[in-house]
Amino acid sequence: MTTTSTGQPAAGATAAELQDIRPKQSVSKKLLNFCRAKPLGAISAAIIIITILAAIAAPVITPYDPFDLVHEPFLPMSSSAWLGSDELGRDVLSRVIYGARVSMYVGLASVLIGITIGTVIGIVSAYVGGIIDLTIQRIVDALMAFPAIIMALGLTAALGSSVNNIVAALVVILLPGAIRVIRAQVLSIKELDYTLAAQAIGARPWRIMLRHILPNVAASYIVLSTITLGLAIIIEASLTFLGVGVSADIPTWGGMLTEGAQKYIRTAWWLAVFPGMAISIVVFSINFLGDALRDTLDPRLRGR
């Protein structure tokens, strides 16, 4: 443990404990094992995948164009409008399905970019050490001093609130946590026998990083990505609540929930409840999957 490790997110506490090299298994076999051991983790994964697919296929599967004023305003649930219609008479179901696009795009893009860059920086920082490590750690310290939502508020206010700018802001938010977790883990891997042995036989640093270290942080990478995905989706929705989210004409869960909850929850509850359920179920599934993955991938828990 190093002095800085106390400030890291809880996600790191268990992920950082990954140490062993796991026996090789084929991917399909691993998946099958996972489904058997964690049926609910698998269901969660299925919900997430279905959501992603729905987001991609939105134009095909939605009953109506999400922008068309197809209904009377404030229709409750009915056979023509399954989830009712909103204040302008647009179809809520179609908008909820379209809403998955922004949430999933923002979440997945920011997590993939953020955690990947964070992992690379974390590995380099830990392995190279010295002044580079020190500099990186100070920057990470500084970035971690900003609460996520405040950082997001500041950055999106500065960059403008397009979808990609929100992704950029989230990347900045997710980076320091990822760097910390990965760095801490690499530091311990660095001292393990097989790394030392590789060094002793004269392996080049990049080869050690690639062959010995990277595979061993893969599990953390997956767990971190899953756990932060939920956070990213919630931050995106919260930004919309605060009025700096994506533009009002794009249907988003956060936007629909905010409008519905602030303006119409007393008269047309479905406007807030369905997008609210969409966010909650997806984030719930993500957290569940994250838990399951952590249990499966964390050797210490697995041993018990």
Partner: protein, 648 residues
């Protein structure tokens, strides 16, 4: 822990989770169902009541088909146009309410934002005037009962010279500031010369200066703002008499002088602080801070500022020595600030009966929400419509290549479906669809005009076809792309979403909507004012809150160079001519004829930048126990509250 146990555990966990979610939904749905029948039961009588109320209180205010309103309003709005109106000072000792007002009590009001400025100089924010209005008086004010008529405030009466160029105000006797100093014409000279000084921005407190002789200063560029011709603009004849000199005879002058922004401040205090003479954002006059007013300010109005918690509330107490005998009625008013992010809490607060009224016609709520509140509280709160609310429009940046062709602008004017917007966004509460807001043609006349007539009529279909032809003539038969910029305030985003859809379907004009916080949006619109720059916006949904219900205000806000909502500084020699000639026309009928001509031309869109959507209504939400309230005709006045009393 074994994986299998975890697996089982998760199954049960999920079941439990599903239960919790179901419970949540149940709470939400159950709550709604419970209240639904009650709401329905109430609906019919409430609607009737509302109609009845509308019929008696504001016959012209409801629905587009109701045309008499603008006519009636215009008639009452112009009495001061006659060269020598006789002053009708209100007898304040015997207030008008029949049942006899009750003294005492505390009024709880909501404010839509924190006070931007406590000093009226250059003040143009409604958030400011609703705060300071109770502390000071104007020279003249709008009548609390006949809210279109003008009556004296500090002035007891006034005369207008035969040529209509000189207004002489006679002040009441025995008026005192709270520090005991007598209120005299010197106070008016000190305050109003600040408003008239060209070194200070006009704001709304200085709108009247557009009618008076222009004030000249020694060296504006060099920073010397000493007036050189002050006496030619306004002067004190004696301690109790003040005179204003106009450039041309106009009935609008006194309407602007009577709005709550044009407050009279204590001259002796203004003179004591060198920062007060000219407005300077970095070193404001000490009276610009509520805290300073509490500590060392002196005021004249019906209430005295007692406590101010920045961003949260301000409380005022009755001025026991108020110069209007017997006023005010209530002992205290507490104002709680509910910014746009606390809309939900505001509605909850009204539903729980925790507020008596909203202070003003702007609260961050939509017409639908007002009507819902009337229903859900079984009519405990009444939404009083303000007839002349907002000139809602679609603002085109004529400096941008897309909108340089007048055919394109004409096509947009024809293709927009105003009725759909009124129905979907404003709950059919809109007023006139005429460009001059009913002050020229009657609304029923405009309703037959191309572009305004309903789209599902043969005429409306012709309009859509003609719009397509025009696009083709302009060489953009397939439409083009454009960026919508809209402030995240009120209904603006909703309006723009519908307009965007309409223009996309009818003309193939596509694009994204960029939403911005209020101030950032204004800043963006402002970029197109610079010469040689077309600015950072292209098309926008905007409104212009009417300051006074007068054609001058419509021209001044939208159709004149430098106008509030004329961010591209669009101008037309024709419109300028019409404006000038109607402005000095004292015969109401003749003036209306001039404006009709201008209106027809504006609507033809030979050259125009503002697609009028409708005259939107705003509402004062007032508890039925609050008496003495009569809705004003615009959103910019009636915040002194000296005539309100509580029937509890």
């Amino acid at each position: 822990m074994k994986p299998s146990i975890l697996g089982r555990l998760s199954l049960r966990t999920l079941l439990l989770a599903a239960g919790v979610v179901a419970l949540m939904v149940g709470v939400a749905c159950g709550g709604a169902e419970e209240t639904a029948p009650a709401a329905q039961e109430q609906q019919a009588p409430a609607a009737q009541e509302q109609q009845a109320a509308a019929a008696t209180e504001a016959p012209a205010a409801m629905g587009p088909t109701n045309t008499p309103i603008p006519e009636a309003m215009a008639a009452t709005a112009r009495p001061t146009n006659t060269p020598a109106p006789t002053a009708t000072p209100r007898v304040v000792a015997t207030p008008t309410p029949s049942a006899g007002p009750i003294y005492g009590g505390t009024l709880l009001m909501s404010a839509y934002a924190d006070t931007k400025d406590w000093d009226p100089l250059g003040s143009s924010s409604l958030s400011s005037v609703i705060s300071y209005s109770q502390l000071y008086n104007q020279i003249v004010q709008y009548d609390p009962v006949d809210t279109n008529a003008i009556t004296g405030d500090l002035a007891e009466s006034w005369d207008v010279s035969d040529d209509g160029l000189t207004y002489t105000f006679h002040l009441r006797d025995n008026m005192q500031w709270t520090d005991g100093t007598e209120i005299t014409s010197a106070d008016i000279i000190s305050t109003h010369s600040r408003y008239a000084n060209p070194c200070n921005s006009t704001g709304r407190s200085g709108l009247w200066r557009n009618y008076t002789v222009k004030m000249e200063v020694a060296d504006k560029a060099g920073g010397d703002c000493t007036p050189t011709n002050q006496d030619a603009v306004l002067r004190a004849i004696d301690d109790k008499t003040v005179e204003f000199n106009l450039q041309f005879a106009s009935g609008a002058f006194i309407k602007f002088l009577a709005i709550d922004y044009a407050k009279v401040l204590p001259g002796h205090q203004l003179d004591s602080d060198p920062n007060c003479a000219v407005r300077d954002a970095a070193n404001p006059c000490f009276l610009n801070l509520g805290e300073n007013i509490i500590e060392r300010g002196t005021t004249s109005g019906p209430f005295i500022l007692e406590e101010y918690q920045v961003g949260d509330f301000y409380k005022v107490n009755k001025n026991q020595d108020y110069f209007k005998d017997g006023l005010p009625f209530v002992d205290r008013i507490e104002h709680y600030i509910f910014p746009g992010t606390a809309k939900d809490r505001l509605i909850a607060q009204f539903e729980a009966g925790g507020l008596d009224m909203a202070n003003g016609g702007f609260t961050n709520l939509s017409p639908t929400q007002y009507f819902d509140l009337e229903k859900s509280t079984n009519g405990e709160y009444v939404a009083h419509p303000i007839a002349a609310g907002t000139n809602w429009g679609l603002m085109l940046n004529v400096k941008k290549p897309q909108f340089q062709s007048h055919q394109v602008r004409q096509a947009i004017n024809l293709a927009v479906d105003r009725q759909e917007i009124d129905e979907r966004v404003f709950d059919n509460s809109g007023g006139s669809y005429c460009p001059l807001m009913g002050l020229a043609h009657a609304n029923e006349v405009c309703m037959d005009w191309p572009g305004i007539r309903a789209k599902d009529t043969p005429g409306g279909q012709e309009d859509l076809a003609r719009a397509k032809e025009l696009m083709a003539e302009a060489g953009v038969a397939d439409g083009f792309e454009v960026k919508y910029t809209v402030r995240q305030v009120g209904n603006y985003p909703d309006q723009c979403q519908i307009v965007k859809q309409q223009l996309q379907d009818a003309l193939g004009i596509t694009g994204d909507i960029e939403t911005l916080p209020s101030a950032a949006g204004y800043a963006k619109y402002g970029t197109s004012r610079a010469e040689g720059s077309s600015g950072d916006w292209e098309i926008s949904c905007q409104g212009e809150g009417m300051v006074v219900f007068d054609a001058d205000a419509v021209y001044g806000g939208v159709y004149r160079k430098g106008g509030t909502r004329n961010y591209t500084d669009w101008s037309s020699a024709l419109v300028d001519d019409w404006f000038e000639s109607q402005k000095v026309e004292l015969d109401p009928d003749a003036r209306r004829e001039i404006n009709k001509e201008a209106e027809l031309w504006l609507h033809s869109f030979e050259d125009n930048h503002w697609v009028t959507m409708q005259l939107g209504q705003l509402f004062w939400l007032v508890h039925r126990d609050v008496k003495g309230f009569n809705a004003p005709s615009t959103v910019q006045y009636q915040f002194k509250h000296e005539d309100l009393w509580l029937d509890r």
